[in-house]
């Protein structure tokens, strides 16, 4: 069977076109080498459908770019997202707990512990000199400083708590990050479905959707099911209702401390019965111990206002003239002052030291968690980059290959042209 005279031209043309697409893909890879979320693309070339010749022979008809694929590994992407949620949880915890422990100002000469020590030592000085007005005033002043120290530490903890709660509200509120990522993913679901439905390439949209899911994973744990047709269902934070199903966003989602990520950490810190709440309880126990132990020993006007037994409102009720150093009424007797000075190292001091140790332990755990999860995240991110990132060396090699392929195809075309020229001018010269 004869073949078309011009068939070779078409074959060479397919080579030119395919290599041109290859060069375009390479050029796009190089241009996006440092674009976040960009996934390396490859022009997948396949042989064109061959021409069957009699005798069972097949004649190749050139090359075709079947698709441009993304070098994306779903397994790695999912590990990255899981680790991103864990790292984000740990980092939020660590940042907040560091703030809490720096508010304590321990161990140093400025924290509550040194104020407690000054307070007990002032009582001791008063015991040595029960008739001294100056010693009485010092007891009242040191007591006021201590109560003020507890008040302001309690205020600081409450401020951290509400700041964390505000951060949570901002992220989860209408128009916040969570909703905006969910909307983005739902919109992209629709666009990808439409693009794929019309047979078009949706690589760029898929990159965007992957990036949006990555961003979402820093807020909480994510998982998704591919619905086919370019759409997916996205579960967020272990919530039973999917956050995004196809093009629908189920708003608002239920977020708990088990949701992981930044939101899970924020809830576990600031929520009712959360870590900051438990610190406030610990601090209230210190204040309560102080009020009850000192007041029990003070005859007459209680030293601390008996109604105010929390760290937030503890206050000194006594004045220099109402303080009694003794139950006997003798001016030089110091039994009360001695007994109160002996509270040094007692319940209040011990509760406070235990509280500091608790905060320290929590902050240390959070810091260690942050370091570990950050290291793991870097390592997974590196694996993702290894698969999906752009290697310039590889791109340059591809560029060279495509360029040579293009030149060779052009050469074939020139050969064909010469061949046809010969045919037409030599063979057909007499026509």
């Amino acid at each position: 069977m004869p073949i078309s005279t011009f068939m070779g031209l078409q074959t060479a043309l397919s080579g030119l076109e395919a290599n041109q697409e290859g060069i375009q893909t390479t050029s796009n890879n190089i241009a996006n080498a440092s674009t976040p979320g960009y996934t390396e693309e490859t022009a997948v070339m396949t042989e064109d459908y061959p021409l069957s010749l009699p005798g069972g022979m097949q004649l190749g008809t050139g090359v075709d770019v079947a698709s441009i694929t993304r070098a994306s590994d779903e397994y790695l992407n999912n590990s990255y997202r899981a680790q991103n949620a864990a790292a984000s949880y740990a980092s939020t915890q660590s940042t907040t707990l560091n703030q809490v422990q720096s508010d304590l100002g321990e161990p140093s000469g400025t924290g509550i512990s040194s104020q407690l020590a000054s307070f007990w030592s002032a009582w001791n000085d008063l015991a040595n000199d029960p008739t001294s007005q100056a010693a009485r005033q010092t007891v009242v002043d040191d007591g006021t400083t201590l109560a003020g120290g507890l008040n302001s530490l309690s205020d600081q903890l409450t401020a951290v708590q509400s700041q964390v709660a505000q951060q949570y509200a901002d992220l989860t509120g209408t128009g916040g990050e969570l909703q905006s990522y969910a909307n983005q993913i739902a919109t992209l679901n629709g666009e990808i479905a439409q693009a794929q439905g019309s047979g078009a390439n949706a690589n760029q949209l898929e990159d965007q959707r992957d990036q949006a899911i990555n961003n979402l994973s820093s807020l909480g744990t994510v998982s998704y099911t591919d619905l086919g047709g370019g759409q997916l269902t996205l579960d967020f934070g272990g919530d039973a209702t999917p956050l995004v199903s196809g093009t629908t966003v189920n708003w608002p989602p239920t977020v708990t401390s088990a949701s992981g990520g930044e939101l899970g950490a924020l809830i576990s810190l600031s929520g009712p019965g959360g870590q900051i709440d438990s610190y406030l309880t610990d601090l209230n126990n210190v204040a309560n111990a102080l009020v009850s132990t000192v007041n029990t020993l003070s005859p007459g006007t209680p030293f601390f206002n008996p109604a105010d037994t929390t760290a937030a409102n503890i206050a000194v009720a006594a004045t220099a003239s109402t303080i009694q150093t003794t139950t006997t009424g003798n001016p030089g007797a110091n039994d009360v002052a001695l007994a109160i000075a002996n509270l040094s190292g007692g319940q209040a001091d011990q509760s406070y030291a235990a509280f500091v140790a608790q905060v320290g332990n929590d902050a240390q755990t959070a810091q260690n968690g942050q370091q570990t999860s950050q290291a793991l995240l870097t390592s997974i991110s590196s694996q993702v980059q290894s698969v999906s990132g752009v290697s310039l060396d590889q791109e340059m090699t591809n560029l060279l290959t495509y360029q040579q392929g293009y030149e060779a195809s052009a050469k074939v075309m020139t050969a064909m042209q010469n061949m046809l020229n010969t045919l037409i001018t030599q063979v057909g010269a007499g026509l």
């Binding site: 161990p107 015991a127 001016p331 030089g332 039994d335 235990a354 500091v356 332990n361 590196s382 340059m396």
Partner: protein, 302 residues
């Protein structure tokens, strides 16, 4: 073989440099504060221990203050009792002389006057003060124990003035109940020193030398009480001295423990710092050259 991409290299470079710089800054913080625990999370148990040890140190400081205050009280008491003892000696000599029966009524009268003056001196000694507090008034420290003049009644009480001298509320009584020595004079008829001295003065004035023998016996018994009282003050001073030594030892012990808990081991930290600095510098240098490494693009021509 793993595929290495440009972004991988720059990401891991940033992450590694960050980690090294973090470590370097934490060591630098330790060196500049001299403390290995700058935040509770550096060592939670250590931080709480340091807080407790600092509290103990503050309490030990208070005990030291209490001991020196107590020592001042007892020294004052000691010197007052010594003065009283000297004056009682003088009275004793006068009584022995008068009891001989060789003195003229005029001489006896002069002796009586001297005894009265000595009584006033003894009462003045009993009114000794430390830091504005009457040390012999029991806990009634704002009232002088004896009034000048003929009223010999003890004005104070028998309350104990205590000082805490060690952990666990160990206290010691630093005052002395002088009314057990001086008593409340003739109206009380308690045969204590002021009563005896007033009797002596009265007997001398009246020339009643026969009674002076009895008075002398009383006086000897009073002097024995005085001796006991002085010995007692001395033993309190010994107790305070011992407590002071013990507190000093405790302070050294707690200080050592605190030091080993929160102080940085300078030699170790300096070595660590130099090592970290060197490796950070090396990392910077290596990163700079890795990030500048050419790709294939630089070698392709045309």
């Amino acid at each position: 073989m793993e595929r290495i991409t440009e972004l991988m290299t720059s990401q891991s470079t940033i992450s590694n440099l960050n980690q090294q710089l973090n470590q370097l800054s934490s060591t630098e913080n330790e060196l500049s504060t001299g403390l290995s625990i700058n935040q509770p999370s550096d060592n939670p148990y250590g931080a709480s221990l340091a807080i407790q040890l600092n509290g103990q140190l503050s309490a030990l400081g208070s005990y030291t203050g209490n001991i020196s205050d107590g020592t001042a009280w007892t020294s004052q008491a000691d010197s007052s009792l010594m003065d009283i003892s000297d004056q009682v000696q003088t009275v004793q000599e006068l009584v022995v002389q008068a009891a001989n029966g060789t003195s003229t009524p005029a001489e006896l009268s002069a002796d009586a006057t001297e005894v009265n003056q000595l009584i006033a001196g003894i009462k003045q000694d009993a009114n000794a003060q430390y830091d504005g507090q009457y040390i012999f008034s029991g806990t009634d420290t704002t009232t002088a124990p004896y009034q000048a003049g003929s009223n010999d009644a003890y004005q104070g009480n028998s309350g104990a003035v205590n000082r805490t001298i060690g952990p666990g509320g160990t206290t010691v009584q630093v005052n002395t109940n002088i009314s057990q020595l001086l008593g409340s004079g003739q109206p009380a008829g308690d045969s204590l020193l002021l009563n005896t001295l007033r009797n002596i003065s009265q007997d001398m004035q009246a020339g009643n030398t026969a009674s002076l023998g009895n008075d002398l016996t009383s006086l000897h018994s009073n002097m024995a009480t005085l001796g006991q009282m002085q010995a007692n003050v001395g033993s309190i001073q010994d107790q305070l001295q011992l407590a002071s030594t013990r507190i000093e030892n405790l302070q050294t012990e707690v200080q050592t423990q605190l030091g080993s808990t929160e102080d940085v081991n300078m030699a170790q930290a300096m070595t660590q710092y130099s090592t970290e600095q060197a490796s950070y510098n090396a990392a910077l240098q290596a990163s700079a050259s890795v990030l500048q490494t050419d790709s294939l693009a630089n070698f392709l021509t045309g």
